[in-house]
């Protein structure tokens, strides 16, 4: 696969118009994740309503891969059960670690399947996972916070 092919239209679309970008209230957890090797940074907030991901808002800077992947992640988790989001995150992560040898389920990953090509470029896998790791971390914090409040 050529590099030009790696940059699918879907990826460039998301990069140029990031879905859900910007910081919003309310939120239960806020995390900052960075990729120290390149300086990509994301500040991400999660708002949960019961078992549902009500909103994910973020302020991020970085390459097309990290930005597009965060935008796709927003579409895939907001308005859906936490558990489903976590399963999607697992499927996306598995695809990214596959080196491209993977049959992605479009019903699960939707626009995320465009990143299959990125999995063939090991240096960029971390970029594609930045937003997802931030989201998983924020959800864990929000859930822990919820438990504390119940205690």
């Amino acid at each position: 696969m050529s590099v030009e092919q790696m940059y699918q239209e879907i990826i460039l679309d998301h990069y140029k118009a990031k879905h859900g970008s910007g910081l919003r209230d309310p939120y239960e957890a806020e995390v900052t994740h960075v990729n120290p090797s390149c300086g990509d940074e994301i500040l991400l907030r999660v708002h949960l309503e019961g078992d549902t991901v009500a909103d994910v808002s973020y302020d991020s800077v970085g390459c097309s891969i990290s930005q597009a992947s965060t935008s796709v992640m927003h579409d895939l988790v907001v308005g859906r059960p936490i558990e489903e989001g976590m399963a999607t995150a697992a499927a996306f992560t598995e695809m990214m670690h596959s080196r491209g040898d993977f049959e992605p389920d479009e019903d699960v990953l939707e626009d995320g399947i465009a990143f299959l090509g990125v999995a063939q470029f090991p240096a960029r896998v971390k970029c594609a996972l930045l937003g997802w790791s931030a989201w998983k971390d924020a959800v864990a914090h929000a859930l822990a916070h919820k438990e504390e409040n119940h205690d």
């Binding site: 050529s2 590099v3 030009e4 790696m6 940059y7 239209e9 879907i10 460039l12 679309d13 140029k16 118009a17 090797s37 390149c38 300086g39 990509d40 940074e41 800077v61 970085g62 390459c63 097309s64 891969i65 470029f121 960029r124 970029c127």
Partner: protein, 443 residues
């Protein structure tokens, strides 16, 4: 897949470079086998020498020869091989000293330039009994390795870290520094880079040394980007300590150098404890060897020092004046050609005056999108062009410039104008690729 026709078309479309004045690369490129490689179906265009330089055959052969035929530990093995190894190792030290115009015993070997600067920060902090009220001065254009060791020192001692700002054209803002009385009677250490690894700026080291010495401060210089490309004479430079690294000057990784004025080195306490750095060890306490051994605990990187010696021989064989001259010419050409690209903004001086061979830039597509350096790098790599993208271990500088990251092309003695042309063509392609994409066209 690479398209040879496309490459040929790009090359023919690139401006013709005058070959006059660019004689050096042709005479040295044959010594660097890697430069004949194909990468992703294209001839390698290696423009990342500020990151690490390529190695000539003579350096690799010197290292292999040492390991295969003369290997023994140094300074303690009392047999023939031990004597050969010690002689080769100390020979490397003498060669480095020769390059700097220094005495061999002023050359301390470390793991890398970062360790050399950490050594400087630790030992100076103790020697000067740094404490609250004392100040250490660096600059906003420093590499992290000339910021963090001083931050740590200030945290340990309660001293205050202050820094030079830069002007809009990427030079140290000496006027603002004077107005703020940045370097004053409280200043105990001034540590600055000679050549910026991002902006390429060559700082006026002698003038800065005078500024530091006028208030009695110790002047430390990070020479990582300077020593590979400029003639050095420590007798007139004005530095008290000078740190640099082997791998950016044709030598192997795993080896750095701290040069110090002997009178200063003699007063500094040890840094790391262990073998070779001692005089007499008793359980109640030890006495320490004289410099440079005092700062070289444990078995040193012997083969690496031998190889660095070979790298110095190579550089001096070519001539540091000639290397500096080529660096100047190729940087001028690089600056001139890059400025022809629309949407490309050069960070740092845009004219080849007091400027080293690293040129950093940002790139914006025709539809006004900042093309991230990682994306630039990836597109360039697919055409065999190797540059660096990111914050180049100088995050505060990028923050100061109001950007998150940049792309950097850097040249060395083997860099040709054709390679600059290939870079320009690949950048034009990158710009067209990211700009040609119509927003939301898919939806």
């Amino acid at each position: 897949m690479p398209d040879p026709d496309l490459l040929a078309a790009d090359r023919s479309g690139a401006p013709e470079a005058s070959s006059a004045g660019f004689a050096l690369p042709a005479s040295v490129r044959g010594d660097f086998p890697v430069l004949d490689r194909q990468v992703n179906g294209h001839p390698l265009v290696y423009l990342d020498s500020a990151n690490t330089s390529q190695k000539p055959r003579a350096v690799v052969e010197a290292m292999a020869d040492h390991l295969l035929l003369h290997n023994a530990n140094v300074a303690r093995a009392m047999h023939q091989l031990g004597a050969e190894a010690s002689e080769a190792f100390e020979g490397g030290r003498s060669k480095v000293a020769g390059l700097l115009g220094a005495r061999p015993e002023e050359v301390v070997f470390t793991k890398n330039a970062s360790e050399a600067l950490n050594l400087a920060a630790h030992t100076l902090g103790q020697h000067l009994a740094l404490g609250p009220g004392d100040e250490v001065v660096v600059s906003v254009m420093e590499h992290h390795s000339n910021i963090v060791p001083w931050q740590l020192l200030c945290q340990r001692t309660g001293a205050t870290l202050r820094w030079f700002d830069i002007t809009d054209d990427g030079r140290l803002d000496l006027q603002a520094a004077r107005e703020q009385d940045l370097v004053n009677e409280r200043t105990k250490v001034v540590s600055l880079t000679w050549v910026s690894n991002v902006l390429g700026t060559v700082n006026p080291i002698t003038e800065l040394a005078a500024m530091a010495h006028a208030v009695g401060a110790v002047f430390v210089v990070d020479g990582s980007q300077a020593v590979p490309q400029l003639p050095v004479d420590v007798a007139t430079l004005g530095a008290d300590l000078l740190a640099f690294t082997s791998h950016k000057m044709l030598g192997p990784t795993g080896l750095g150098v701290l040069w110090g004025r002997y009178e200063l080195l003699e007063q500094l306490p040890p840094f790391l404890g262990g073998g070779e750095m001692i005089e007499v060890v008793r359980m109640e306490g030890s006495t320490y060897a004289r410099p440079p051994a005092r700062f070289e605990a444990g078995t040193p990187p012997i083969a690496e020092v031998v190889a660095l010696g070979a790298a110095v021989d190579y550089l001096r064989g070519v001539g540091m004046q000639r290397i500096a001259h080529h660096e100047h010419l190729i940087t001028a050409y690089l600056l001139e050609q890059l400025q022809r690209i629309e949407g490309l903004r050069i960070l740092g001086p845009t004219v080849p005056v007091d400027r080293g061979g690293a040129v950093s830039f940002t790139l914006t597509s025709a539809d006004g999108f900042d093309i991230h350096p990682h994306d630039v790098m990836q597109l360039l790599d697919s055409r065999g062009v190797a540059i660096r993208g990111g914050h180049h271990c100088a995050r505060p500088l990028h923050h100061r410039l109001g950007i998150q990251a940049s792309s950097r092309a850097s040249a060395y003695l083997y860099t040709t104008p054709d390679e600059v042309d290939a870079l320009v063509a690949a950048l034009e392609h990158t710009r067209a690729f990211f700009g040609g994409h119509s927003l939301g066209g898919r939806r």
